[in-house]
């Protein structure tokens, strides 16, 4: 890659680092893994940068790489989560805002990967159904049903936690 192209790549990656990390964290709920996903994503982006920098919606292109990377990583043996029978006790009682924060993230964590991706893309990245469908490589109808089921699951979990 030529030097000016590489400078453009570096600028883009640096500028978008925060949003890429946040999106990755919402998908995987682990900052170490989120940073790994972002590292893999920007590596892939580098390989395609001469062509990628010319695409109309570069952010969408990068989100697509990120989501696909995460879904691929979910299938890898050493990335699988180890379920625990009991949750560790917090050392001190968390404040209300932390409970609220943990609540939303835990609820998101309870969704299966593709449903979680659909909810994050639709409601965090603010993408349309069509844009989400393109990234997840499925039909708009599937995104609608995945998102609806995702929200349904979230509502059910919220109701259960209140009871």
């Amino acid at each position: 890659m030529k030097r000016p192209e590489e400078a453009g790549y570096r600028d883009y990656v640096t500028t978008r680092m925060d949003v890429m990390r946040r999106t990755a964290y919402l998908l995987c709920r682990d900052w170490h893994l989120a940073d790994d996903l972002v590292s893999i994503t920007i590596g892939k982006l580098y390989r395609h940068w001469p062509r990628a920098r010319q695409v109309e919606h570069l952010d969408a292109y990068v989100r697509r790489i990120l989501v696909r990377t995460w879904l691929d990583e979910k299938a890898r043996a050493w990335r699988r989560e180890e379920p625990a029978e009991t949750l560790p006790e917090p050392p001190v009682l968390p404040s209300d805002d932390v409970v609220e924060r943990i609540g939303l993230l835990e609820l998101l964590d309870a969704l299966p990967p593709r449903r979680r991706a659909a909810v994050v893309l639709r409601y965090y990245c603010d993408l349309s159904i069509e844009e989400t469908a393109e990234i997840l490589e499925c039909s708009a109808g599937t995104v609608k049903s995945q998102t609806a089921r995702g929200l349904e699951s979230l509502r059910a979990l919220v109701a259960a936690s209140r009871n």
Binding site: E6, R10, V13, T14, M17, D18, R21, R22, Y25, L26, D30, W31, H32, L33, D35, D36, V38, S39, I42, G43, K44, Y46, R47, H48, R51, A52, Y61, R64, I65, R68, D72, A75, R76, A77, W78, R79, R80, E81, E82, V98, E100, R101, L104, L105, V119, V120, Y123, Y124, C125, D126, E137, L151
Partner: protein
């Protein structure tokens, strides 16, 4: 549900451990290796490019020929997305995958058992699940394989082709884990052949040396402050076998950032190197 709610839920974002310079370094190396290590691929690409009506411009001193395609060239098809993906460059296996897995299991299990502290027991580990839900025994190798899939937009996924094994280790109250990958060289899970800088916020040491039979050995130690330690040895054997052996002083996975469950990983760098250099740990017996 809105973006603001999600941002509020995320809370304070910890410092980034994404090292852009390390990514650039790795990609430069990858591009260089691809150009230099496989001249036949480059030659094949040239022939294909000429056949497609492209014009080759050879500039003296250029590391590789630059291809100038005619104006209004068609966009790359999905089939192109995997053309640059890493693929094994060493010969195909002569044995069935199940035979290879069985043979490697015996060698690795013996090598590890001989070196861990007395009284250490080996148990199953979640890294030894493949496919999802199928748990393999302690240090029992399994073949990880997935076909390449090209996606529109130039993305390529899949292409896994390697053997993996994992085990948890328990010695009194000390818990850790050991895992290994044995692969043909050039694929997507190959051993490091050079040292690269440790990720940000991680203390690391790396040493590259040559083994007694011409093996390239890269020994790494990675430690996150207050977190677990990872001992990893990468071995590239002249016969075309790549090996990664790793030991962690945490029961689950160092990536999860748990506190250490034992003072040091169950195998030292020297012991891991001995395991990796075991002549039985090969894909070409």
């Amino acid at each position: 549900m809105s973006k603001d709610q999600f941002d509020a839920a995320i809370g304070v974002v910890p410092p980034s451990t994404v090292d852009i310079e390390a990514v650039l370094h790795r990609e430069h190396r990858r591009a260089r290796v691809r150009r230099v290590a496989n001249p036949w691929t480059a030659a094949g690409a040239c022939v294909a490019a000429v056949a497609a009506g492209a014009v080759l411009v050879l500039t003296p001193g250029d590391p590789a020929p630059a291809v100038v395609t005619p104006a209004a060239a068609p966009p790359p098809s999905p089939a192109d997305a995997c053309k640059d993906a890493p693929r094994p460059t060493t010969p195909p296996l002569r044995e069935k995958a199940s035979v290879v897995a069985g043979r490697l299991t015996t060698v690795l299990t013996d090598a590890v058992r001989q070196r861990v502290a007395a009284g250490t027991t080996l148990g199953v580990h979640t890294m030894g699940q493949y496919p999802k839900g199928t748990q393999h025994g302690p240090l029992a190798f399994f073949h990880v394989f997935s076909a390449f899939v090209s996606h529109e937009g130039g993305e390529c996924s899949g292409g896994e082709d390697y053997f993996m094994a994992a085990a948890s280790t328990t010695e009194k109250a000390h818990r850790g884990n050991v895992w290994a990958i044995v692969t043909r060289l050039g694929g997507n899970a190959g051993p490091a052949a050079e040292c690269v800088p440790a990720p940000q916020d991680t203390q690391g040491t790396c040493d590259r040396r040559t083994g007694p039979h011409g093996e390239t050995i890269v020994e790494e130690v990675l430690t996150m402050p207050g977190g677990p330690t990872v001992n990893r040895v990468n071995v590239t054997k002249p016969d075309g076998t790549g090996i990664i052996v790793e030991a962690q002083n945490t029961a689950r996975d160092a990536k999860l950032g748990d506190a250490p469950d034992m003072p040091a990983p169950p195998l030292s760098l020297a012991q891991l190197a001995e395991v990796g250099l075991d002549p039985g740990l090969t894909l070409y017996p």
